[in-house]
Symmetry: C2
Subunit: 329 residues, 2 copies
Amino acid sequence: MAVRLADVAAACKLSTSTVSRALSDPEKVNALTRSRVERIAREMGYVPSRVARSLVSGRTDSIGLVVPDIANPFFSAMTKAVQARARDKGYSVILADTDERAVDELDRARTLDKQADGLILASPRTDAAQLREIAENSQTVFANREVDGAASVVIDESEGMNEAVQYLVSLGHRSICYLSGPSRSWSNLQRREAINAACVANEAELIELGPFEPQIQAGMRAADVVQFKGATAVIAYDDMIALGVMARLAERGVQVGREISVIGIDDSPLSEVAYPLLTTIHLPGAELGATAVDLLLEQLDSAATDSEPPRLCLETRLVIRGSTGLRVS
Amino acid sequence: MAVRLADVAAACKLSTSTVSRALSDPEKVNALTRSRVERIAREMGYVPSRVARSLVSGRTDSIGLVVPDIANPFFSAMTKAVQARARDKGYSVILADTDERAVDELDRARTLDKQADGLILASPRTDAAQLREIAENSQTVFANREVDGAASVVIDESEGMNEAVQYLVSLGHRSICYLSGPSRSWSNLQRREAINAACVANEAELIELGPFEPQIQAGMRAADVVQFKGATAVIAYDDMIALGVMARLAERGVQVGREISVIGIDDSPLSEVAYPLLTTIHLPGAELGATAVDLLLEQLDSAATDSEPPRLCLETRLVIRGSTGLRVS
DNA sequence: CACGATGCCGGAAACGGTTGCGGTATCGTG
DNA sequence: CACGATACCGCAACCGTTTCCGGCATCGTG
């Protein structure tokens, strides 16, 4: 069916080794024969088999990406960046979506590991011990999660969170409600700690609700609880929940931005179309993805140097829009 | 490094052929030795090399998916479905995002073709001749695009479009504005034809504007043109544009749903958080993805039967929310 | 006992490339 | 002219599986 190296060799009246070298190792072969081989190969429509090449090289030139939910704008933006950067470097991306099922993460990671040269695990929910095991057995970079002894790139939310709390306090809010994300989520833990510290520092009361799934529907449910609690300022685990809250509050006739202030986290494109526009903590999702790829490829090239794996940290900032305002009592 | 079949064979004092059979073709081997092999293989942590297996089987058990923009909710929803269905069938998904660059589509498709058993091309912008060439050289299913002689699954928008126009007319609108999507987009062509037919049938005037990129920013620009033209009813190429229009109109103090009616296409999750909630034509994106996978796998199994490739068509319906209302003059 | 059938297993050839090593011209130099 | 260096190319092994084919026991049957 497909034309093989041997076919080209036959047509050139050369050995497969020479043809192979002519096409991939141009130095080692006569310039004349090389151009002849190249021409004939082109004419015959030869394309090398990646599989065969992988078998001998031991590399597949592809990386695996595991995300909790590709439909979540944060992860789709990140995925886009991962794909773009990987392609720039000559790698392709195998995608796995766990649909927020923590138990599937390990399985997916292990499956991908056999097909890819390395793995990027985005916001994994699995516990540290198992993640460490994955990291030991395969080249791995964690995004949005730190794991001892493994490479990772995370987002430091404390600064943005502090800005957010300070801003709310300056608007007159003394009691702030945090809507928790998935309980197994590392970043939820980070955000909780950050908001807690920020509340202490700014002398505000913190009310925690949740956990809620990072989805609009869950946010709508959360809105009812929020209103029941009589909160005037809300910071949600992410934009999806925040948007759900806003949508539900609007449904109930509550004026967001006046009667109640809502802050999201992500700065997804949606936050610019919601009404009112959503005040949110900007998360550099694209940068996260691109950096994760860079880290992974570095790791692949530097073939198992047992030096301490790198841990990178990206910054956040608060983006103020219309969903927050002066406290009215 | 990794434990190979030969290592297991040595440990079992058997030949690789027997071990191979014991693990994959359980009938052909003594039950006793089989269980022994299985045990030893497990103890040694043996995992078969997918690459080596692919080399002989000729299959990679993965499919390639090419999308114009994974950050677009329509495609991320579709991708999610593709991934889920593929995984159910034992396949993994290699993702390529062209970032709406039509010229890259062919290249991506050809690259993926070498790594995957088959391809799904979602909403390709490339011209038919080149797509047909792709389809001839590799197992391909087109999603959201019909190509002569190739398998495809598309969404028939005429019904939904007709509902939409009829609905707008019943609200008193006599002139309807259509915001075109990418000019190379097949589905944009479909939608234009559908709305045109619907307008003729319902005796409404049609005003076409565009083209606009399917992004919120482009929709915001579109809003200014819309307002300049004095239109009272707008149907946008997709939800992203519609949301951009709404956001910009809100910015300018125009009350969407009262002064002007806006209809999107997609029914993405965003349409439920926008304010007002976006009336939109529901597109079965997940179903589209899942069906494309089914078609592709059928095609792979039925190994080149030269029967006419299947063309499937999914239905749409109008979802009425708050962004549309009676015409006020 | 002899013989064919049957059940298990091993040898070896694929699959399609890459690469170390050795062989053969060709050339320059003493 | 002889010899060593050099540039090119071919042979064959190898990557890790699968699978065809044939061999050897074992068993049942005539």
